[in-house]
Each structure stands twice: as C-alpha cells, then as structure tokens.
Amino acid sequence: MSERSDVGGVSVSTPIRIVTPTGMLGYGYRAADFWRCVDEGVDAIVVDSGSTDPGPYMLGLGKTLVTEESYARDLRPMLRASHERRIPVLISSAGGAGTRAQVDEMVDLIDRLATEEGFALRVASIYGDIPATTVQQRLAAGQIQPNVRGELPSEQDVVGAEAIVAQMGAEPFRTVLDSDEPVDVIVAGRAYDPAPHAAVSIKARVDPAIAWHMGKILECGGACCEPKGGGVVATVYPDTFELTPMTPGHACTPLSVAAHTLYEKSRPDLLVGPAGVLDISDCTYTAVDERTVRVSGSRFEPSVHPTLKLEGAAIVGYRTTFIGGVRDPILIGQLDEFLARVVKLVGGMHPDLAFGVAQVKFRIYGRNAVMGDLEPSTQVPHEVGILGEVTAPTQEQATAICTNIRVGVLHLNYPGQIATAGNFALPLTPMENPIGPVCAFTLYHVMDAEGLDLFPICYRHVGTPAHDASKEMAR
C-alpha cells in the first residue's frame, strides 16, 4: 500500500482498496474471508442494502428486505473492522427502500450492536426522502420526464404516495467524506447503487468513469465472480481498476466481469446515472492473474442538468388470496369460461366487484400463470393450480369477496359436469388468507434536480465508549 494521508478517514491517494463483502446487506457472507481481506489492507467497506426488484411493498409499507437478525449478523464484523482499523463503512439504501424510518432503524441497530460490542462509533445519516410538495412543483413545472412506458405521474400519484425517495448520487457521500466531522459509518437512504463506491474513489482523484464503472460492478458483490457469490475487492487506480473475489476458490475472469455488466440493466453499453452516462462499450477486460481482472477504457459523459430518479409507492388496496388445484379434464377444458361465470355470480353479491372497485385476478399455474399473454405454449396440462387474488378497499371486503369466489370455484356447476361433489382441491385451511395491504409504484420517474437542496445529513455518536480494553483485544 502506498503512503496515505487520511481525510475523513478515507485515503486520498491511489490505489485504494474497497471491499464489498456481500451484494446485499443481510444476505450473509463468510466472516473469515472478510477478515482475511481486511488484514490485507482495505480503505473502505461499502455495502448496498436496497432494491426495487422485490416490488413496491418495502417503500409503501416500510418493511425491510430481510430481518433485523440478518442485518445484525452482517453488520457486526464490518462495525468491528471500522472501530478497530478505522476503516469507513458506507451503507446505502438502508433497509430496502431507503426511507427516513429505515435509515433511523438501521442507525438504531448499529447503536445496539456497538453497545453490545462495547465500542463507540460516529455515524452520519443521509436521508433520501423527497417532500411531496417538491415533486408536485416540479411536475407542474414540467421538470419530470415520462417513464419508459411514456407515462407521467398524476397529481394523485404524488400526494397519495406513502413515501417518496430519490436515488442520491455521489455528492451527499462526498459531503460527509469531505466534512471536518469525523465519521466511521455512513448510513444513507435511497441511493443510486454505485454512488458510495464512486464517492470514495472520486475523493481519491480517480477518473469518474472508472469510479462509476467500479461501483456498478462492486455493488452486486460477488455476482461478477465465477462461481457467483461472496464478496469482491476492488483495487482502484486513477484510470483503471482491478477486481479480486473475497472468497478463496472464486475467480474474476474477463468473461465473468464483462458478463456481469449485462445484469439487471436494460442495456450493456450505456448506463445512465444521476451524474451522467457511463459508456463501457469500448472497455477492455484483462486477466491480471488467474482470479483478478483489470478493467479499463470506461468513458463518462457528465449530464448537463443534475437529475434524480424518484421512487414513490402507494397502497392500492388490501388483498385476500386462496390457492388450489383442478385435476378434472372436463373442467380444465372450459376453465376460462367457468371462472368468468364464478366472477359474474359473485359480482351479483358484491357491487364493488361488479363495478371494479374491488377486483379478482387468477393465475392458472400449469397453463400461463407465469407469462400471461407472452406465453407461446398452448399445451393443455393434466392439472392446474389456481391462485385467486382479490383486492378491495378494506381487508374485510377482500376476504368477503374472496370467500364467495372460492366457494364458487369449489361448487359452481358447469356444462358436462360429472363430478358433482366439488371442483377444487384446496391444500390450505383456512382456505382464504388475508395478506394485508398491497402497494404499487406510482412514481419511478426522472426529475430535474437543478437548484434543489435535498439529502439532509445528521451526525450521531452511537454505542458506548469501551471500558474493558481487554475485551476489545480478545477478538
């Protein structure tokens, strides 16, 4: 390692080494591999905690992606490394959606863990929530772009959202790293996944193209390795970076790294972020040794206007579901007509269903439940599973409608019926299961961020000063 001069706990000279022990905080990693890596010298520990992939429920309901126990297990070694080695830890999109509440919960958890471990930590929280009034103003001013489907949000989408966050870029992290306030851990709200990696690198005067490209790969942890999984370490130079798996026996190869650039991205060559467009179409991937790959040739085009991607979710109803199977070929042959008759029948008992205030959706497993209209196969299965999903303005209403739908599927007659004692094999009792509120993304739009002062920062000391020095040495 070259000689370092620490500012805010992070090296400003290259190369710097950044470890991401897991692609998602709470998904687990091997502590021994992590410590071996830390022992070899690490300048920053960066881990992502959020995603929109599981859907809007985390944002709309404030639920976390994994349990507190999983977060605690993954956090403990990182916090100890931060305390013992003074290695900064950066956590982004805390809790899954990165709302203020989830950031605070994460900081509270860190407080508890530090207290249990018997050390103190200086924590900076960066909040990513966006006031609905700000979005309303920008929407009215035409400063929100339509999404990929060409849709703009409605006024109701904005005011009706349970929570609105924006994917912060590198600047809020830079602000913390550059401040005079000493910080051990940064817990950020919703962030563009590579932002903390990029912030650490750019501070060390790494080319932004390299900084963003490295972050883009590292934020997924060992997904760029062969086999996949575990963590990964980046050694970052001003104009290139190298990737090495944290896990022994895993390897980064030119193909495994290039292939990862495809993952979860709508296109592999141009990656649009809050600060600009990363162009990796002319990148080269070179094997340094049998498990290390060097990446270079990335380009970065800064955007003229700073932009932010908004995420907003609303509760759109309450759901009750049932599941069961049909084996009778006479019924399978006319299932669509049969289910339509059931819905019509139940609509007669519940006007909200007939008028679309409540709705029922079926998924016919064995036929086209997975792909719907995209399904090219027309094969007739010997048995099908039916998931019934009733959504209504209240949980009670959803359960009432769902019960009638389930009874209809079980007992309604149909042309050619031979089995007159029941149409439906039900595996669960109770047969209807209320599953609570259901959310939808009402905002997933890019907003012009020019002139906005967002992402407030809060500094806090957590844990307790160590009284027993021997306990610390015991690790």
């Binding site: 929109t52 992939d53 599981p54 859907g55 809007p56 429920y57 999404n147 990929v148 489907r149 193909l255 290039a258 292939a259 650039t261 495809l262 993952y263 979860e264 991205k265 709508s266 296109r267 592999p268 060559d269 990148c283 991937y285 759109v316 109803g317 759901r319 709705q359 959706k361 998924r363 439940a369 997975v370 792909m371 719907g372 209209d373 995209l374 399904e375 090219p376 196969s377 999903e389 959504t391 259901v438 959310c439 939808a440 993304f441 997933y444």
Partner: protein, 509 residues
C-alpha cells in the same frame, strides 16, 4: 474456430448457450441475457440471424416498439434484449403480478432453433448473385425444358391459353401433372375459375404457336384450329400430345404458382419431335446419343452401352450418324444412335424404329443366318432365280463383312416405317408387297459386286454386324449421313469395319 464442432442439424439455443436468463431492469422493464463461453459458438449464433428484434417480437407476441434494446454484445459473448413490461404482467410487485423479479420470462428462448453453419460459398457469394435475375435465368437456362400451351375456357366461354416451360409430370397414382405460371400471368386467372385445363405439348415446328401464346396478343387463337377436349379446354392442332386435367391444387411459390392438375385424359397426337427451350432460345431435339429403353433387349442394350463411346467417337470424327440395330430373325429394331448427320439427305435414325425382316431388309444379318432363316427371309420373292442371286449376294456380303444401303431404297423404307404403326406383329400383305418391290437387284447391297461404282455416291448408308463370343450376330452397326463429297464411301466402310471389330472384341471381353 478453436476446434468447435457444430452439428449438421439445427440445435436448440439452450444447448449452445451457457446462460439464458431474464430479470427486472427497474420496475417497468425485463431484460434478457443469452451468454456463451465459446467465441466461435457466439459468432455462429450471431451470424445465423435467428436472434433478431423481429424474431423476439414474434416469439413474445409484442410490438417492436416495446423492445427497448436488442443487440449482441461481443465483450460478454452475449445477446441481450429488454422488453417493456406488458399490461398482462401487471404493475411490478402489485395487483395481478405474475413474476415479481421477472425471473421466469426467459423460457421460450430455450427452444429457439439455431441452424447449422452455412458454408462460406453459400454465405458469401450466392446471395448476391442469386438475387440477380439475369444470372438466375442464365444458369437455369442450362437446363432444357419442353414447351407447352396450357389452354382453358374463360368465364365468357372464350378459349384462353398461355405458353409454359415448366410442365412436368408429378404423380402416377393419382395421375397428377403440374406447371408453374407467374403470379403476374394475365391468362391463368382467366382459366383458373373453370377448374379445368388442357396441356398441349408443342412440336418442334410450332415455335410460332408458342410465340403467339407467349405474347400479349388479344386473340391468341387467331389462325389456329383446335377442338375441345372432354373438359372443353382446347386441344391445338399439331400438338405432339395433350393432357386434359381438372384443377387439383394451387400452391404459392415466390413470384410463381404451382398449379397441380389431376389428369382426366391424355393422348399422343403425332410422333413428332417436341419443341424445346434451352439457353434462352427455342430449338428442337437432335438425336445425338440415344438408346431405346426396352426390357426385351436387355443383353443387346448392355452391349450398346459399352459400344456407345466408340460409336460417338466415330460419329464425331467423321461427321456421320452411327446407329445400332438388333435383329431377331423376324423383326429389326433400331436400338441406339450417336452423332448428328452432316448429309441433310440422310434421314435421322429413329430410335425404336421396327421393320419386318423380309428380303432385302436385314441383309447384313441374313449373311450370317441359317439356311432355314434365309429361306424364310426369301419367301416373298417368287422368282427362284432371284432367290438364288440373293443367296449369292449373301455369300459375298459375308465375305466382305458389310453391305450397302441405297438412296432409293432408303426412301422406300422410310415410307414403310411411317406407315407402320406399333411394334411387332406379322407384316401386312401391303407391307410384304412393298418390301418385295425393293428386292429387285440383290447386287445393289453387295460392295464391289463386280461394279466399279460400289460403294459410290448413291450409297447413303453402310451396315456391318458385330458378333457375340459364340459367333452369333450380336448387333448391326450402321453409318449414315456422312459427308459424301469429302471421302469415298469405301473409307467410311473401313471405319465401320474397324468399329464392328472393336465392338466384337468388347463383347468377348
């Protein structure tokens, strides 16, 4: 190609790719990755042009506009495309969601069939040339076709017709034929509604008829006489043959149609040579090297096949036509011919031509026949003295090894051939009389029969036998149509004898 071995038949994509997957790219898009490990396999799949934006749109039954990205990506040896989530997939993670992570939308890609690699020749050179209509015609013009006129009756009851070069037989059971009119044809649409048509096979002398039907003339039947077939479709006078059909099926094939007809009736009108289309022009069939195909002459035809190169060589060297015949004692059959006659007065050897073996026909064979056979042969000659002179002539011919054919006799024989219908059978009284009339001077057939003019300019053909290993006459070889001015007939006789000697030794080997 780094030793990559591709199968010869199509292979499913799942057997070529290492990864085929789908996943959300944000809440509105699902992205698909197909990844390879072998650069050669990657290049093969890319170059097969199977994975295209259009193919993806068709497979997933979505609008092209809903594909936001679709491309191969060389650094990762991958093909990638991204779809906008469809309404049927619901709002991501919300009511009606089928696949929250978009992780199972890849399955239809697994069975996409990738064809085997094409050879360089077909991928590089042909597509450009194959698209060149002139080149296509020039190459396909190397394949000769017959010429037919397809006729029918239009909705107004008027005859209609078109010239086609694509008539072909299709099936024996049921009896089907076909032809291929251009989709731009103005005549076929007139005939098609009637569901019936007649194919007229044109003769070599009917090029003008072909021209009329190939033209855009208002009345293509002007100046032509015809009669209706059973279907009502016209049978043109002078056609070599006709095939009357009911419409069986019409298939589309590029800018042409394949019209299949079920044969209702068919006949040969006259035994004439057909009109041919070849290398962009019309012509007729010129017998060059042909052989009769008749199972009764199996042994002889095997010998003819072996003798053919020698016959062709001689025909080419001398400008003559060389024929081969077989005689069974009662009938003479022309089995084969080679070359084109230079002498326009020599009439073409007609393969399959049969003649009753009565004096003087078959002199070359009778010179080596038994006494009983000769007696039979001479039975039509009443004068005992003439019969005795024939026996003398046969003796001399046996000694010289060949015999002569005369212009006058040739003409008479031709008339006989034209009047004789069908093979075999006893000669009619009329034929007997005609043949007997030829048998006036046996010495006419004898070379050097004490006459200095033998063989002279009036000799149009020469005949000589070949022998089987047991000494029996195997074939009669004949040379005719040679240029009589440039060489004496004697020189051609020597050529013929050299040929029969070679064929005799061929038969022995």
């Amino acid at each position: 190609m780094s030793g990559t071995v591709f199968p010869k038949s199509s292979v499913a994509l799942q057997d070529l790719a290492k990864v085929i997957r789908s996943k959300n790219a944000g809440p509105y898009e699902i992205t698909f990755d197909v990844m390879f490990t072998d650069p050669a396999v990657y290049a093969h799949v890319r170059d097969s042009d199977v994975l295209t934006r259009a193919a993806i749109a068709k497979l997933y039954r979505i609008d092209d506009a809903d594909i936001t990205y679709c491309s191969f990506f060389e650094p990762a040896l991958a093909f990638k495309f991204t779809l906008i989530r469809q309404d049927a997939q619901g709002k991501q993670g919300s009511v009606g969601e089928r696949d929250t992570f978009g992780a199972q939308q890849h399955a239809p890609l697994l069975d996409i069939q990738i064809p085997p690699p094409r050879r360089i020749m077909t991928t590089r050179s042909v597509p450009t040339r194959a698209a060149d209509a002139d080149w296509f015609r020039q190459v396909l013009g190397q394949y000769p076709t017959g010429v037919s006129v397809v006729t029918g009756i239009d909705a107004d009851g008027a005859p209609a017709g078109l010239a086609v070069g694509s008539f072909t037989s299709v099936s024996l059971d049921p009896p089907l034929v076909a032809f291929l009119p251009a989709t731009s044809s103005s005549s076929w649409p007139k005939i098609a509604p009637g569901q019936k048509f007649c194919v007229n096979i044109l003769g070599a002398d009917q090029e003008s008829v072909c021209g009329a039907f190939a033209s855009k003339a208002a009345d293509k039947f002007a100046g032509l006489s015809w009669r209706p077939a059973a279907s009502g479709a016209p049978i043109l006078d002078g056609a070599v043959a006709w095939v009357d059909c009911e419409l069986e099926a019409v298939h589309e094939a590029g800018d042409h149609l394949i019209v299949v007809g079920r044969v209702v009736d068919l006949d040969i009108e006259r035994p004439a040579l057909p009109l041919l289309f070849f290398q962009g022009g019309y012509g007729s069939f010129s017998p060059h090297s042909l052989a009769l195909r008749d199972t009764r002459f199996g042994v002889q035809l095997q010998l003819v096949d072996r003798a053919r190169p020698l016959m062709e060589a001689l025909a080419q060297r001398t400008g003559a036509q060389v024929g081969a015949a077989y005689c069974d004692g009662s009938e003479l059959t022309m089995l084969a011919s080679a070359g084109t006659p230079t002498d326009p007065h020599a009439s073409a050897v007609a393969i399959g031509q049969r003649l009753p073996v009565l004096a003087p026909i078959g002199v070359w064979w009778m010179a080596h026949a038994t006494d009983t056979q000769v007696q039979q042969w001479l039975q039509g000659i009443e004068a005992a003295e003439l019969r005795a002179r024939y026996r003398d002539a046969l003796t001399q011919i046996r000694r010289t090894g060949y015999c002569l054919g005369l212009t006058s006799v040739h003409t008479e024989v031709q008339a006989l051939v034209n009047s004789r219908s069908g093979p075999g059978g006893e000669p009619t009284a009329e034929e007997r009389q005609l043949i007997a009339g030829l048998a006036l001077n046996p010495m006419d057939y004898v070379p050097s029969g004490g006459d200095a003019r033998r063989p002279g300019p009036d000799v149009v053909s020469l005949w000589a036998p070949t022998f089987s290993p047991d000494g029996e006459v195997a074939l009669g070889l004949m040379i005719t149509g040679y240029p009589r001015e440039s060489r004496a007939a004697q020189a051609y006789a020597e050529d013929l004898l050299a040929l029969t000697a070679e064929v005799t030794s061929l038969a022995a080997s």
